[in-house]
Amino acid sequence: MSASKTETAENPQFYLEEDHHPENSTNLGFWLYLMSDCLIFAILFATYAVVGRNYAAGPSPADLFDLPLVALNTAMLLFSSITYGFAMLQMERGAKAETLFWLGVTGVFGLAFLGIELYEFSHLLHEGAGPQRSAFLSAFFTLVGTHGLHVTFGIIWLVTLMVQVSKHGLIPENRRRLMCLSMFWHFLDVIWIGVFSVVYLMGVLG
């Protein structure tokens, strides 16, 4: 008798809790995903730190890397971060057109970043400094390439959300999705800080 009583007492409480924080749990879950992504990058950074000086008599970072180009690339990603921030501010105001505009600007900066990175990669491959050349270059292409792949998927996601927002407006679902992409986009900028510090600046330093 007491068992059936507790069961009925528990059920409504369970539903209430489910109803109460639907968006918060999405944010926390997405944050946990970002943390697991952070671990992927940590392992790639560790690999680079271990084998990053094994050149196999090939080119070293000081021979290959063009720091002004990296600085330009960093600026592109930083600009895209602040313009995404502007998009979020417009979203909170409920201004659909302005949100779409700033999302578009973010996408353009993201594409500029990718374009510069692909130019750099093709330049390296052209010089014979491909991922198969040395352990250093394998680790470099894996680490920077994984980051670039994340930015690529971020841009695909961004375009998808722009279509969603222009079709359905700034409904709660789209606000939640924009919030998740905001965290993803800023997270990629955080990873890039590690990349330009550890790979490019420390590499050129020797």
Binding site: A49, G85, R175, S197
Partner: protein, 133 residues
């Protein structure tokens, strides 16, 4: 006067709860601009240190680059990702601390083990060396 103060506080609390109900956290124009300006400065200094050959000692430059990198990551966490100890009841901060612990163990552990790899290997005789695969 005495009536007004609690009412104001109530309204403030209500607004606070409201804003947290919709999004876990969001910034203002001021916080985004502050974060952006700090990031530009914190990016420009390490690039200038390396590209301008400011210090002769490479160890000093390297240490400064890493310190500025860490500071900039903290700036991004606060101003762009709006990290604080209260959002989601402290669970995001908890997850972040856990991840940092794992990252530090993975990075320092890998470097430490691999750096001492030669010292930790069994001593090889020339005979063994010859028969190595």
């Amino acid at each position: 006067m005495t009536d007004k103060a609690p009412a104001h506080e109530d309204a403030h609390a209500a607004h606070h709860a409201h804003s947290h109900g919709h999004e876990a956290s969001h910034g203002s124009l001021k916080s985004y601009t502050t974060g952006f300006i700090l990031s530009v400065i914190l990016t420009a200094i390490p690039f200038w240190l390396v590209m301008g050959d400011v210090f002769d000692n490479k160890a000093v430059t390297g240490a400064l680059v890493m310190i500025f990198g860490v500071i900039q990551i903290v700036v991004h966490m606060i101003y762009f990702l709006h990290m604080n100890t209260k959002s989601e009841g402290g669970w995001t901060a908890m997850a972040l601390i856990f991840t940092i612990v794992i990252v530090v163990i993975a990075l320092s552990g890998s470097l430490w083990v691999m750096h001492h790899l030669n010292a930790n290997m069994m001593v090889m005789s020339p005979e063994m060396m010859k028969n190595m695969p």
